[in-house]
Symmetry: C3
Subunit: 671 residues, 3 copies
């Protein structure tokens, strides 16, 4: 992508409005007024593009692309594989997904296809190549939007066979599989590969190794399908750029793997702002983690491919965004490395299940609709801060978030089968670092640790031998490592390490796990410290690990229960670096002082002084974004930030020069 | 029906006791003592009436009917189609229902048959005509009880085909269907009718138009089956009168449509009196709404076909009725236009799933059982107030309750997908009116508004163009219209109206919807007024609509959040009438003063003064029923009402003359 | 079993470790150090024992048995039928279970086989006889562990046919079935046996008699399968002793019936100690009830076949046991008549779904692991108290707990369909008795009442005519009978008794049920008494029965609601005995004084004085176990008991002589 601007746009589905030229004309008009520069086009248009098998109908799309181009709007052209036409379903039933209960779906919904089916791949190829041939070199088409929110799984016999092939490739022999899965347990030895079946409600659910590998296979197969789509396009237009829209903490695909196969990482963000149980800052931190993840998967600017300018319609309670919230959400994206901010969708559909999902243009079709006005305002702000586009981020701290670990951890059966909340553990560390103005990137066990000063491994239950080595060398060479409870427990096929744990890190950390106790919801254990830099009292929850000191210094200890006196936070010098261990989950507010202590002398904040409560600072290249995550006016240094508003600074030498100060977006129902 | 009395009776299932002549003899004895005048006979007797295919066994029933007749008890004779014999199931599996998962049910339960199956219809015809031929002209048989609680749905291939036929009839072309359902969304265009399938857990669930039409079809097909049953009888005895027992707020059938096809509306009432979370008045209001609905569907007196004289057995906690409660429930029925009060059932079954459902005669077979004593007491009261039978009700206010609207509203996806509670919105308006002594009838969008003074349209999300016109004319001609938030949003196929809303009513109401915000459970927005007639402060919940004033006068405004100042209640003169708009759901106590304000000078109460807290008054013809819905003694004018007791007055000119004052029913376990 | 010792051991699954001779060697070493005397061997080893059909591989097991024998460890040898090898599943699909939805399971999990399948029985026979022939006379093999936790049900056509056969055997004619099930209800008459099918989610669920008989059949068929396993062994080694591990309150099998067919009763105990909602005493009482049940089913010492030395891994939150808790649990078993204390399992599995279930040896393989240390400590205590082994218990009080009653009661539909909690009613009476130091045994309606002084029938909803007679004679002959609300309602096919109830006991009790009212959760009714021996005020909950006095003396009456004054507790002399009636569920603390009043002059405590709060005493032969169920030091008479600790006394004449005083187990994470 050229970095001349932050792209601004939306999903655009004119196929729903082809009989309404007045609407299509208004679209162009309103896009221009809102400074829209890109749309994702035709995501669910297959039935319109190919109403009968082999009968293509692309002219309407040609006109749309031309009209957009003339209006200065570029196109991120979708392959329409996210939903297939009815005719295909009847003629080739194999394209439909089979559930874990081994029942094939009927036609309906979207994302309801088998990723293995050769027929479906062939039909997708024909469709994609029609589009590529017709539009692939159109100057308005700057990128391909591969399908939509890839996900789900299929248990058809084609997928079962592909799974067996994938296992054969990975393990070589059935004996290796049986060993890796500890199949002897409950007499589950597989005589040969043909006996292996995916998990099922009325079949296997207890062999963790099988379940883990099934999840890995599903991720692999989905990505393989995506590559097929991409390569079909490139057969016609080799220089095609592609992206795929990823989803928050979506469980079903290892996005680190997926990101390798695309040119631009993008994600779809649907935070629930204004929930009574969360502050704006809480929601913003959760979102910031994801921005950082999607920046990290490729280590380069990403796009926010979908977000909602007002209320969604699929949450139990779909609350609107208060005035200014949508602008904040857009600018927060840019602050964390986003070079594109797009909405789902441009115009509200007139019918069907998403008709009440807010869009830039509402059913009332009015320009004075608050949502449209706010979107237009963001369009003009993004124009003002265009120079920031393309700027990359500095490596400071990295948090390990690994899909295989997540899958294994959450399926582990013990010590806590609900409420483990891996996500909240991750967020505590992210927050502790970012509240100190430190840049955080998200890595997995394949990642290179070079360049990072601090590496945090929260609940790294599944610790690969090779990553263990990387961590050891990282500390030896001067890095700072933070490891929490419930780390280093199993190997990559979910077999428990025998002997002392955290596996192969007890000497690095200077501690050894003795036992781990699960807390009931709301149950805690008191912890105390003599350090001046940490809260004097804190409370462990969720899981309380009891460890023996083997060289480390305790910074905080338990003060309750039979394990009173056991370490809660320890520090240990190892090689040229240091290793910290945290034995339990502490209150959220504990992590800001903890990371100030850990990081001082190691990395420095992008903001010169302590940040006020609820104000965050993040850096992109020479730019620093100061973000007010509160509903109040706040002073930071000598600047007053309006509620939900940001200021952009440019680093010039040691100084930060204000380059943009966002005005508050005001709106009232009363004229 | 002759209106010489209020019919009093119960479901009677002697087929369960044919081997116990002593029991059957006691039945007759106890019926006489309790002043029973009618029973619904043989509802589930098919297996006894036709133990083998074509081998009918009707003699036992002849004897029962004769014995009842001799005892002065009339028969409401059931067609036994609610449960079919086992032999039919094996020989003709097509009679069994197929679930949405496309799996055919096994034999078992009741109400488990396909309404489309030609075989089932034929078997029903043979059975019904046997009954009609033998008993249709018996002087004791005064009515036919068609099947039992029609309901449920079948997804078999016969029903699918019937659904497609129904759609073809309705829309003509597949293009019209695709347009009506906005099928372009997610590429759902149906190439032809044969592609259409009913919603399924593993199929389509997102096309709202399809789901809505499926519900309409199921309602249609069920009524069609009922008509088949009726017409089979009338082929033999043309003058046969028929009724069908409807159920509370049952979702599956549009009872306005069903009522057209029967001679008498009846319903089955199972309110949960004495719940800790509700007052007696709350429960009574909920029940009163339903009485008013079932009066309204035909605009004539109805029967309470089933109610329980003691505890039911199917609620999670089946609480008994305290002494006097059952009598209150029976008399409340009459007060709202009921000409029949019947129980399920006469005698408790000895076994199977309903054996602990209370009945007039309990397992102990005792006459001094409290339930029997209370039933007998009500029997004698009903005799005393016999003259009220047949009296009709005056048209004052109408509340719009429309099944299509309910179906669309509750399936809408956004802005609140749970806890919308259409019912509670309806009840608030009903309560506000009835607490002011105003008669309320329930109408739908097919109804004629003539004669009503006030029409209330709560949450009329789906507003048909033709009804919109009716409302407009109603106000123009001098009527008072009340419309709430989330009205006038979609057309009758659930497509959103484009442009300003409430559709086609913005000029009538003098307001225009700008946006709508969903509240979390327990979340509210403060509202204030300067009016003396309304509570000074109230709180909006569930959904808060933000509207622009376009001519209306605000009576109350929001006092919180970014939409502070926006109108909550407005008044607008239009033509010769007035239109009110309510932007949110307010506390229950708000509606009594609101409707006093709205109704004064428009309609007048049936009671001359303000009603005391918890006391309701309702009128039937010349009679006014004063109902004490509290557990205390209460003075109303110069009469003291005992707990749960009523007084009946007769209007003579402007005066109300007391004609019956109910004595308290007292009972103690201690002799 | 020889009674020279309390057996101590664990499930042992060396088949998971055959490639790790170092692990197997450590096993032997650590068993010796922990005083292990028995292991249950090979429970899930079928795939290792018969890797291909007919190809047996038993040598590894021979070596294990020999090595254990040499180390002084005896073997309880398992038949491996709890999980079958994959090859069998493919070749003979009929061995897999079919769900109630009529879908056959896939290979996977354990306990997934049809108990009826002739093929499965044949395969089990071949396997069992191989084991019997090779190991049945090995001096180290002292018992057979039949399968594992028999349970579950199968709905395949073979089982349906077996069910019909069982019914034909039981009832003779289809008319008798129809009568017994009251099939006339909802026209359910079965034309012949072939129409009968097991309950199904899409079939029959309302005929209680069918559901009850299905449960009885499943229990019968499971036991029949167990007998098949046993008899296969005895064909080879006629003197084989067998046991089966039963499970807590498991619903699926009538364990009184099962116990008749085995030589030793055993059960698997997984109490959740340290739950925030329960005291240690609460959990201990719950467990004590089960110990008493499993003692009672054969009236002789039982084994605790499985329990967990630390945290389990299958509970939502799997909490560890605090230091000393595991020892308490082991000794409590012995105190209640246990002659064996075993764990699941010896060593934690390395992978699959139970890998985090605590075991004697943890993944760290350390001897200084707290769990291992505590297990070793218990091993040495059990050695010290070896003389207690074999001692039997005195008959004092019996509580009726009957599986048919449980099945019928919990499926009853009314008056309370959730939260009835039969278990808690049982525990209240157990606690009331045991807190007074009275021995409790658990009986069913087949039991002989001879020897008991007090018989308690809580919620004996289903009261068989013959048991009714037994109770009558028991009281007539001088026994004390306690009957609660909701007793004597239905006969053994779940048909309601007509006439007065509790059926055939109204004269014995001197009361007659008038009605019963269900309380909502948290709802109560005040009860009062003038007796000095009972709490002055108590509160009825769950169900409040209203009864008429017919000769009994009220000890407590309701003081609230319309049934104020009705009796809550009554006493009635009948024949040479007395009968008590309790009309509702009262607070837990009510039952200790109640049973002190009921039992004084009837039976005497095994402890000479009042027991301190939280301290229980129970007797086995000459031994009395004094158990501190609190976390504090407690004085009882002149002895101080440490937290969770016990003392053992021996009765010598009238004196109790201290023979063992358990030291506290102390542990700290800090050296």
């Amino acid at each position: 992508m050229p970095h001349s601007k932050v792209y601004y746009g939306a999903d655009y589905n004119p196929d729903q409005w082809l009989d309404r030229p007045d609407i299509l004309a208004q679209d162009i008009e309103l896009m221009k007024k809102a400074n829209i520069s890109v749309v994702s086009l035709g995501i669910f248009a297959w039935a319109t593009l190919e109403p009968e098998e082999g009968k293509y109908n692309l002219d309407w799309m040609a006109k749309i692309i031309d009209d957009l181009y003339a209006a200065g709007v570029r196109v991120n052209l979708a392959t329409p594989s996210g939903a297939r036409p009815a005719w295909m379903t009847r003629k080739y039933p194999e394209v439909l997904r089979v559930g874990a209960n081994r029942v094939r779906n009927l036609f309906g919904e979207r994302h309801n296809h088998c990723y293995t089916s050769p027929v479906y791949r062939e039909k997708v190829k024909q469709m994609n190549q029609q589009l590529a041939a017709r539009f692939g070199r159109h100057p308005g088409v700057i990128m391909w939007h591969l399908s939509n929110e890839y996900g789900g799984e299929c248990h058809c016999e084609l997928c079962q066979e592909a799974f067996r092939g994938w296992l054969r490739e990975k393990y070589g022999t059935i004996e290796a599989v049986n060993k890796a899965w500890n199949s002897k347990f409950w007499s589950h030895d597989y005589p040969d590969f043909s006996y292996i079946e995916s998990p099922a409600p009325h079949g296997e659910n207890s062999v963790h190794g099988l379940k883990l590998d099934w999840k890995r296979f599903v991720s692999h197969q989905t990505i393989d399908f995506m590559k097929w789509e991409r390569d079909c396009l490139r057969e016609i237009v080799p220089e095609s750029k592609v992206c795929a829209n990823m989803m928050y903490f979506y469980d079903g695909i290892d996005y680190f793997d997926m990101a390798k196969e695309i040119d631009l990482a993008t994600w779809d963000a649907y935070p629930t702002w204004h929930k009574p149980t969360e502050t704006i800052e809480d929601t913003a931190i959760d979102t910031a983690f994801m921005h950082d993840l999607y920046y990290s998967v490729k280590g380069q600017p990403f796009w926010l491919m979908e977000n909602c300018p007002g209320p969604t319609n699929w949450q139990p309670i779909s609350k609107g965004k208060k005035p200014g919230m949508n602008i904040f959400a857009g600018l927060q994206t840019v602050a964390h490395g986003g070079d594109g901010v797009l909405y789902f969708q441009w115009r509200q559909s007139q019918g069907s299940s998403e008709k009440f999902h807010a869009a830039v243009v509402s059913h009332d079709c009015r320009e004075d609709n608050r949502i449209y006005m706010e979107c237009a305002e963001l369009g003009s702000i993004l124009k003002e801060i265009a120079p920031v586009a393309g700027a990359k981020r500095e490596k400071q701290a990295a948090i390990v978030y690994d899909w295989s670990n997540k899958w294994a951890l959450e399926d582990a059966q013990g010590p806590r089968n609900k409420g483990l909340s891996y996500k909240h553990e991750l967020l505590r560390h992210h927050q502790g670092l970012t509240q100190n103005g430190i840049d955080v990137q998200i890595i997995n066990q394949d990642s290179d640790l070079t360049g990072y000063k601090v590496v945090v491994a929260p609940m790294l239950y599944m610790l690969r031998e090779d990553f263990c080595e990387k961590l050891r060398r990282f500390v030896q060479d001067g890095g700072v490592l933070v490891v929490t409870y419930w780390s280093g427990v199993v190997n990559e096929t979910d077999l428990c390490y025998l002997g002392d744990t955290p596996h192969n890190l007890t000497d690095v950390l200077g501690v050894r796990r003795m036992e781990i106790d699960a807390m009931y919801d709301g149950e805690t254990r008191r912890c105390v410290t003599e350090s001046d830099e940490l809260p004097q009292v804190a409370h462990g929850s969720i899981l309380c690990e009891v460890a023996a000191l083997e060289g480390a210094q305790p910074l905080m200890v338990y003060d309750e229960d039979y394990f009173s006196g056991a370490p809660v936070v320890t520090e240990h010098a190892f090689g040229k670096g240091k290793a910290y261990y945290i034995a339990t989950r502490l209150e959220r507010d504990f992590y800001k002082p903890l990371y100030r202590l850990i990081c001082e002398d190691v990395v420095s904040s992008c903001w010169p002084t302590h940040l006020p409560e609820g104000v965050h600072a993040s850096a992109r290249g020479e730019y620093v974004f100061l973000q007010n995550m509160t509903e109040a006016y706040v002073w930071a240094e000598n600047l007053e930030l309006a509620p939900y508003c940001m200021a952009v600074y440019k680093r010039e030498g040691d100084a930060l020069v204000l380059v943009y100060n966002q005005p508050e977006f005001k709106w009232s129902p009363i004229k």
